[in-house]
């Protein structure tokens, strides 16, 4: 190791530092110096933070010991063609109808599977690797804006190690009519390793687009994805994340969004598969009268563990936030929702509502929910509601009285419960896709 | 009793709603102010009652010989100006009877009269309830919380009957009421008619005026009174619409 290490290093971070040292030769000459600078700086921060402890509020409901004890080091680039397995994964996850599609296999662009033709003028969509060369200012600005703190050590790790990802850059006033689809697949080649991907969406003033990101794969891997969204004044963006990782996989997703005046973000996060899945959304409403809709659901079985976290910080007046999250845990699964809405001093006339509803359906299943309000302005309308319970017995009985077998009746009710949140997705194509995936998941978990 | 002279008022955002109102109401009179939606009827009521959010840019209002516009809203109320709200406000957790007694005692204190204790108050309020044919259960609920539209209006009339104002302004108290509720409101108003008291009824429809006979009728249009007359004017308006009134003016 070289100049990177002249600061204290937490023991669990050490293997990652060593891996970074090994990679540095391979990287040398391929990347601009500014990027190497960010990578080194971020690695230093990660080394200093180490893994979060469970005393850290943002990580209190997730058990990281397995990951801490057995490092999952960044996987190197894979060679070779596209396997049949990858094609099968793609067929599962892709939207039925045409969309602009960018596919990443094992964390790197797979041009052969991507379809980027016919993008309207004023829209740039491509891999992160290409953007670093073609749109360096945009990419740099993104790194500049990302503040690294102890609660986000893996975002720092991501900056140090990301291999690729995507960038969507939309000029002011441009409307992207067709959905943009980003599909992350994993071949299983990264067995025991980690995949770090980085996304960036910049929507200019009054620009409009809908993006769905799907995550699937095979084998035992850790995906660590970071995406930044930057919505200029009046921009409107829908972002859907569908997480259906391999049964043994870890997935950490970090989404950081900044909203300009009158901008509108609509986000939906669906956690369906993966051993341990965590998705955190942080929205900073910086312009007046922005609107932020954060919805999502997790549907867990077996020994799955999933966390959804949201933080919305209203730093400007007149903002509006709506959140609906649904959680279902069966078997021995454990799910948690932590949502915080903050109203900064002076951010008057904020209207925010948050709802977290959950079903605990197994004798060993568990749910935690922590809806949180932090309000430092008086002219506000903020509320939250949270509920944890069982399926409605009366409804169940009603279905059974009509001759529907118990198992099927339960599945219908669970599906209806999750559907309530999915209905909030504004893009019909994506909504239908999600519902279909949920049905399949419920059908398969029944066996 | 009330002299409104060339009253101009605008909202905080600068929009001018009242553009020179002249109105003179004497003790013992009942005036009806009619006009289409957006003509400034409710703004006039709000400005007279001292609601914040309006700026009086021109003109004057004298009430009982005093400058009304310099008085804070609660002082106007204690001086006998009552506004029956178009949309009465809910106050959770505050018992309706307690609210009424608190308001009445605030006014009595202001007039140098002894305050009423719970027993004295209850006797008076029961008598009024009977007179107005309002159920006593209304008193035991929180102020306007969970009240139906009709109950809210009844509650306003009950408050008016208890507070015995010198000038009562009824802001569309008749809107959204069925015929029974309308008659009840009318009864409340008629019962309040007296030589010492003036009543201003603000309404969109002529309907209420079938039961409450006004001495004067004014037509408000775009922030101005464009026509005034006796009760026949109301009938004519009902027949020919506000458009005709505007043309006539």
């Amino acid at each position: 190791m070289n100049a990177v290490v002249d600061f204290p290093v937490r023991p669990e971070a050490r293997p990652y530092l060593e891996a970074f040292g090994r990679d540095s030769l391979a990287r040398a000459g391929r990347e601009p110096d500014w990027l190497t600078g960010y990578r080194k700086g971020s690695l230093a921060r990660f080394a200093e933070f180490g893994f979060p402890s469970r005393r850290s509020e943002a990580w209190r409901y997730l058990d990281l010991r397995a990951l801490e004890q057995r490092p999952m080091l960044p996987a190197g680039a894979q060679r070779g063609g596209i396997s049949a397995q990858i094609r099968a994964q793609l067929a599962e996850m892709a939207l039925g109808r045409p969309a602009y599609r960018l596919v990443l296999v094992d964390g790197r662009l797979a041009p052969a599977l991507s379809a980027l033709e016919g993008l309207p003028p004023g829209v740039w969509l491509g891999s992160m690797a290409a953007a670093i060369t073609e749109r360096p200012e945009l990419v740099r600005a993104g790194f500049e804006a990302l503040s690294l703190d102890a609660a986000r050590p893996f975002a720092a790790l991501n900056t140090a190690f990301f291999a690729d990802g995507f960038v969507l850059d939309i000029e002011p006033g441009v409307v992207v009519e067709r959905p943009v689809e980003i599909i992350h697949l994993s071949s299983g080649a990264a067995q025991g390793g980690s995949l770090h991907t980085r996304g960036l969406i910049a929507a200019g003033e009054r620009a409009r687009a809908s993006v769905i990101e799907s995550f699937a794969g095979a084998g035992h891997y850790w995906r660590n994805d970071v995406i930044e969204l930057n919505l200029a004044a009046g921009a409107e963006l829908t972002r859907v994340a569908l997480i259906e990782e391999a049964a043994e996989a870890w997935h950490f997703g970090e989404m950081l969004a900044t909203l300009g005046a009158g901008a509108s973000l609509s986000s939906f996060v669906m956690l369906l598969a993966g051993r341990t899945v965590r998705h955190e959304t942080t929205v900073r409403s910086e312009g007046e009268a922005s609107r932020c809709e954060l919805n999502g659901a997790f549907l867990l079985s077996g020994r799955q563990e999933a966390n959804i976290l949201t933080t919305v910080e209203h730093a400007a007046a007149g903002g509006e936030t709506r959140e609906v999250f649904k959680g279902v845990a069966t078997g021995r699964a454990h799910g948690a929702f932590q949502g915080r809405i903050t109203v900064r001093p002076g951010a008057q006339r904020v209207d925010a509502h948050q709802l977290s509803r959950n079903l605990v359906l197994g004798p060993h299943a568990s749910i935690d929910t922590k809806p949180e309000l932090e309000i430092c302005a008086d002219d506000v309308k903020c509320s939250h509601g949270a509920a944890v319970g069982d399926l409605d017995e009366a409804a169940l009985f009603y279905l059974r009285a009509r001759g529907i077998p118990d198992e099927q009746a339960r599945r219908m009710l669970i599906e209806a419960f999750v559907r309530e949140a999915v209905e909030l997705v504004g893009t019909p194509l994506m909504r239908e896709h999600l519902l279909q995936r949920i049905s399949r998941r419920l059908a398969s978990s029944e066996e | 009793m009330l002299e409104v002279t060339n009253l101009h008022a605008r909202l905080n955002d600068g929009r001018e709603i009242l553009r020179g109102i002249d109105l003179s109401v004497k003790a013992g009179e009942v005036h009806a102010i009619m006009g289409p939606n957006g003509s400034g009827k409710s703004t006039l009521a709000a400005v007279l009652a001292g609601r914040e959010g309006y700026e009086v840019s021109e003109g004057s209002v004298s009430y009982l010989g005093r400058d009304l516009l310099v008085m804070p809203a609660d002082e106007r109320a204690r001086e006998g100006l009552f506004l029956a709200f178009q949309y009465p406000i809910e106050i959770p957790g505050v018992n309706n009877m307690y609210f009424l007694r608190t308001a009445l005692n605030a006014q009595r204190r202001h007039r140098g009269e002894p305050e009423l204790d719970a027993g004295q108050f209850l006797r008076i309020v029961r008598a009024r309830l009977k007179l107005l044919d309002i159920g006593e259960d209304l008193l035991q609920r929180a102020v306007n919380v969970g009240f139906s539209g009709g109950e809210k209006k009844r509650n306003e009339i009950l408050q008016m009957a208890m507070l015995e104002p010198r000038l009562a302004i009824l802001d569309e108290t008749d809107s959204g009421l069925d015929i029974d509720a309308l008659k009840l409101v009318a009864r409340g108003v008629n019962e309040q008619r007296s030589p010492e008291r003036a009543i201003v009824v603000i309404t969109h429809y002529q309907r209420l005026l079938d039961y409450v006979e006004p001495d004067r009728v004014h037509v408000l249009q775009r922030g101005r009174i464009i026509q005034s007359g006796d009760k026949a004017l109301a009938v004519e308006l009902e027949r020919r619409g506000y458009g005709a009134a505007e043309e006539a003016a």
């Binding site: 605990v360 004798p363 922590k370 932090e374 309308k381 509920a387 | 959010g53 709200f85 406000i89 957790g93």
Partner: protein, 484 residues
């Protein structure tokens, strides 16, 4: 009419007053030297002529405390507390253990009269038995004989240790262990006095039991310890009131309250906390770090906490219920007001262990001035707690643009048949409500008082009558100067 019908006139006259309990009593006191070491603990134990087991118990707590750090997770900003600068024992010098009220220093009796708590027999409050705690020790307990006839023990903790050591030893620290948390450990090491009550099986305590806490001495911490036991089928309602003089430095209050309800027993614990809150600029005021917890040990037992928190510069307290017995019930009703620079981080924990346990939480937070008010609560349903139910309602009212209201609920469910519901709102008093009241002749101040009382009604109605009136007055006083 309900207790909430206290006339606004009274509220108004009160609202013009400032903290009226801020006087200092000139009294000869005996104090331990400042600082905290094992010797301090031994000094206190010796002063109180305690048995060896209790000294050992205290020392164990002290050693645990030495290895602990002051918790920093609450949303509070406070100046660091120098635990070595405080005095841990201060007692009014009087003939050891006054035999009757006539032997109590008249200056002390006058103090309690000024506070509205007469202790002389002919003046004592009807229906309320009072244990008066002045700085570190209990100075008088009323109605002892009458209660004794029913087998009810109500006395100071010091006396309980002497007269009923078997009961104290059996229950002390069983709900809040010595090493439970930093402040509980501190209290366990140095607690000086407090109240003790035991209600025998099947007895319904015929009057409210009450402790009135008064901090007087400067630079003195108060560390009282209260232990209440309701044996099978018993019922007791307990009131706690507190005041302190107006002083420029912060004073530390770290109490522990333990409640135990056996099978079918009920304990109702009500607090009106009015420690000196500090001045408008945040100088002085009590640092109130309190651990209160009740254990519903038996089936169908019930513990109900009601608190009105208006005082203190800092409030850190989470009266909790551990619902061990099947079908046991826990309740928490709270009003917390923070004005000027006051900070409150308060809430509850409901731990559902037994089956079919139920809990209710109603929290009303009012923030004014630069006050910061946090509700922090935990509802936890353990795997065995089949059919557990919780409902939480948590509302915040903001008055003025520089205050803050925060809601931090934790809901942790480990049983599929549980049903837990949480609702929270935050808003300000609407302009419409204010205008409506003013249009009926109420001044702005009276209108706010009325609306705030309405906002708190669900909680205030849980208070015993005597306290409800007091609490309403306090709400008005506490909000003084919060508008225009």
């Amino acid at each position: 009419m309900s207790a909430s019908s206290e006339t606004l006139q009274t509220l108004r006259s009160l609202a013009r007053e400032s903290y009226k309990y801020g006087f200092i009593t000139e009294i000869d006191a005996e104090a331990a030297p400042p600082g905290l070491t094992e010797d301090t603990v031994r000094f206190i134990s010796a002063k109180k002529e305690e048995p060896a087991w209790l000294l050992e118990w205290r020392l164990a707590a002290f050693r645990a405390w030495c290895g602990m750090a002051q918790p920093d997770w609450a949303k509070l900003q406070l100046t660091p507390i120098d635990y070595q600068a405080a005095t841990y024992y201060s007692a009014p010098r009087q003939s050891a253990g006054p035999k009757s009220i006539d032997e109590v220093d008249p200056e002390l009796l006058r103090t309690y009269e000024k506070l509205g708590i007469p202790l002389r027999e002919r003046e004592i409050l009807a229906g309320v038995a009072v244990d008066a705690v002045f700085d570190s020790i209990s100075v008088a307990t009323t109605f002892k004989e009458q209660l004794g006839e029913l087998g009810i023990i109500f006395c100071s903790m010091g006396e309980a240790v002497r007269e009923h050591p078997e009961l104290v030893r059996k229950y002390l620290g069983t709900v809040v262990p010595q090493n439970d948390n930093f402040f509980a450990a501190l209290n366990s090491a140095v607690f000086s006095d407090g109240s003790f009550a035991y209600v025998p099986p099947g007895v319904r305590c015929p009057m409210e039991l009450s402790t009135y806490f008064r901090i007087n001495a400067a630079k003195t911490g108060q560390f009282e310890r209260t232990l209440l036991i309701a044996d099978a089928g018993a019922y007791v309602s307990y009131l706690e009131g507190c005041t302190a003089p107006q002083r420029d430095e912060n004073q530390l209050h770290a109490a522990v309250v333990e409640l135990i309800a056996h099978e079918d027993a009920q304990v109702k614990y009500s607090t009106v906390q009015n420690w000196y809150p500090g001045d408008a600029e945040g100088r002085g005021g009590i640092y109130n770090f309190v651990t209160k917890r009740g254990a519903c040990r038996g089936a169908r037992s019930k513990i109900s906490w009601t608190q009105v928190e208006t005082g203190s510069a800092i409030t850190w307290k989470y009266p909790s219920c551990v619902l061990e017995g099947d079908h046991s019930v826990g309740e928490f009703y709270s009003v917390a007001i923070t004005n000027n620079r006051q900070q409150a981080d308060t809430g509850t924990k409901m731990i559902h262990i037994g089956s079919d346990t139920r809990s209710t939480i109603v929290s009303k937070g009012i923030s004014a001035g630069r006050g910061q008010n946090t509700y922090r609560g935990l509802v936890r349903v353990q795997p065995r707690a089949r059919g557990a139910r919780n409902h939480t309602q948590c509302d915040s009212l903001l008055i003025g643009e520089r205050c803050g209201a925060h809601t931090v609920p934790y809901i942790e469910v480990r049983n599929p048949s549980a049903r837990v519901e949480h609702e929270a709102t935050a808003s300000r008093i609407s302009e419409e409500q204010l205008f409506y009241c003013r249009q009926r002749g109420l001044t702005t101040e009276d209108a706010i008082s009325l609306i705030v009382n309405g906002f708190c009604r669900e909680v205030l109605k849980e208070l015993p009558m005597e306290f409800a009136v007091e609490a309403q007055k306090l709400l008005a006083v506490s909000l003084e100067g919060s508008v225009g």
